[in-house]
């Protein structure tokens, strides 16, 4: 490992790491929000709307992120959507992950025992109250592991953003490799950087999972 090269490029690698974290977190928040909205809308008794949402989910899950990102970034300007690379990257990550999050939330809603809802109705709770105080806590508690898993997957998908010149970690690594011809060092450095990133995300995720599950269980029983 040539540490001199790594040391020389360290500032740009750290900056790239920052951009990776920014895109990952902003994209995830966007994806969670859209995914949740899709799952909620999907519960409305309106078949055409549900077909539309189904198509949305299937298209985004059925095509590679790289292809989606490229169509959004290169094709966007033709329909008047002119985004900077980073904005397109965040929006792309958000749209892509929203399909997966929508499915996770849908499964979460499906996991709520019908008896609980019937019980809530029989004690006279309003539909809004039932959603807020019964369905959601139970649904969310059961989805936490799947959400954490998806967040881990997303943190690795950010490498694709380098293709549209988002100055994230992979992009900076490639710059280093191209300028110094140290391809093997870059492969090594990438393996270590991403492993650390994913390990950190997984660990924080597990801790969050334990806390949230306990909190949700308490809320649900309160």
């Amino acid at each position: 490992m040539s540490f001199a090269v790594l040391l020389h490029y360290l500032p740009s690698l750290i900056a790239g790491f920052g951009v990776t974290v920014l895109c990952w977190s902003a994209g995830s928040i966007l994806g969670l929000a859209i995914g949740f909205a899709v799952a909620l809308l999907n519960r409305l008794p309106a078949p055409p709307l549900r077909w539309l949402l189904r198509a949305y989910v299937e298209i985004l899950r059925g095509t590679p992120f790289l292809v989606q990102l490229f169509l959004l970034y290169a094709g966007g300007p033709y329909i008047g959507l002119r985004l900077s690379a980073t904005a397109a990257g965040i929006l792309g990550l958000g749209l892509y992950s929203s399909a997966y999050f929508a499915e996770i939330f849908r499964a979460g809603f499906a996991a709520v025992p019908q008896g609980q809802i019937e019980a809530a109705m029989s004690v006279g709770m309003t539909p809004g109250d039932i959603l807020w105080r019964v369905t959601l806590p139970i649904a969310l508690a059961s989805t936490v592991p799947a959400i954490v898993n998806m967040l881990v997957i997303l943190s690795k998908e950010t490498v694709v953003l380098s293709i549209i010149t988002v100055p994230e970690l992979m992009y900076q690594m490639q710059t280093m490799a191209a300028e110094t011809f140290t391809a093997f060092d870059a492969i090594f450095a990438m393996a270590i950087f991403y492993w650390l990133l994913v390990e950190a995300v997984s660990r924080v995720g597990r801790r969050l999972e334990i806390k949230l599950t306990a909190f949700m269980a308490r809320e649900a029983s309160a």
Partner: protein, 218 residues
């Protein structure tokens, strides 16, 4: 939009799609074998094996597939181990997918009530029979939807094997984009083919899920 360009290259795209499907099938099969072994290690009584299984999952889920492929194909060759491109591609996909499949199988086995295995032991079932007739059928039923999902993810991830010089679907879409200077049409065509394959897979998944569920109720 110039779709005559796509029509000109349709055969090229479809051949590449076949490569993508074949590599993914081989990768998912290899991944299942590795996943079952790693899952067994993680559930074994031996602490060292459990640790080893845990490390495997952490490493192969943590390092991006792209980096794994570069390592197998180029880095090993620098030190005398010349892995052919197809082997590197299937091996890379299988090793990475093995980590995910191990976790899927582990989750499914955890969801199978422990009392059942105990009851079977009490009834005098041999350990292998308990696995084959009680644990595995139930675990597979639980694991079927996430396994299909993993297949879809792997199929999309297989776009990365172009780094070892294999002309799969994404690579060919890019080749067409560069030859025609019409990236939008080329990527759209590639995306549609991915979508078609994955919709077939999802339909198969739904079918298998129904069959397995029906089998469980009898």
């Amino acid at each position: 939009m110039r779709f005559d360009i796509i029509l000109h290259s349709l055969g090229y795209l479809l051949r590449a799609a076949a490569v993508t499907v074949a590599l993914s099938l081989a990768g998912i099969a290899l991944g299942f074998v590795i996943g079952a072994l790693v899952c067994a290690a993680r559930r074994s009584g031996d602490r060292f094996l459990r640790r080893l299984g845990g490390f495997y999952v952490s490493f192969f889920r943590g390092v991006p597939l792209l980096v794994q492929l570069l390592f197998i194909y180029y880095f090993l060759a620098e030190y005398g181990l010349d892995v052919p491109a197809v082997v590197a591609a299937i091996g890379g996909l299988g090793l990475a997918s093995g980590a995910y499949q191990a976790e899927i199988l582990r989750g499914a086995l955890n969801a199978t009530p422990a009392g059942q295995a105990e009851a079977a032991t009490a009834l005098g079932f041999a350990p292998f029979d308990i696995w084959r007739r009680i644990l595995l059928p139930q675990a597979l039923r639980i694991a079927a939807p996430p396994l299909i999902n993993e297949f879809i993810l792997l199929l999309k991830a297989s776009s990365l094997v172009s780094v070892v010089g294999i002309a799969e679907l994404t690579r060919v879409s890019m080749n067409i984009a560069s030859m025609t200077y019409r990236p939008f049409e080329a990527y759209l065509a590639g995306g549609m083919i991915y979508l078609a394959i994955n919709l077939c897979l999802a339909a198969f998944g739904a079918f298998a899920e129904r069959r397995l569920a029906a089998g469980g109720s009898t």
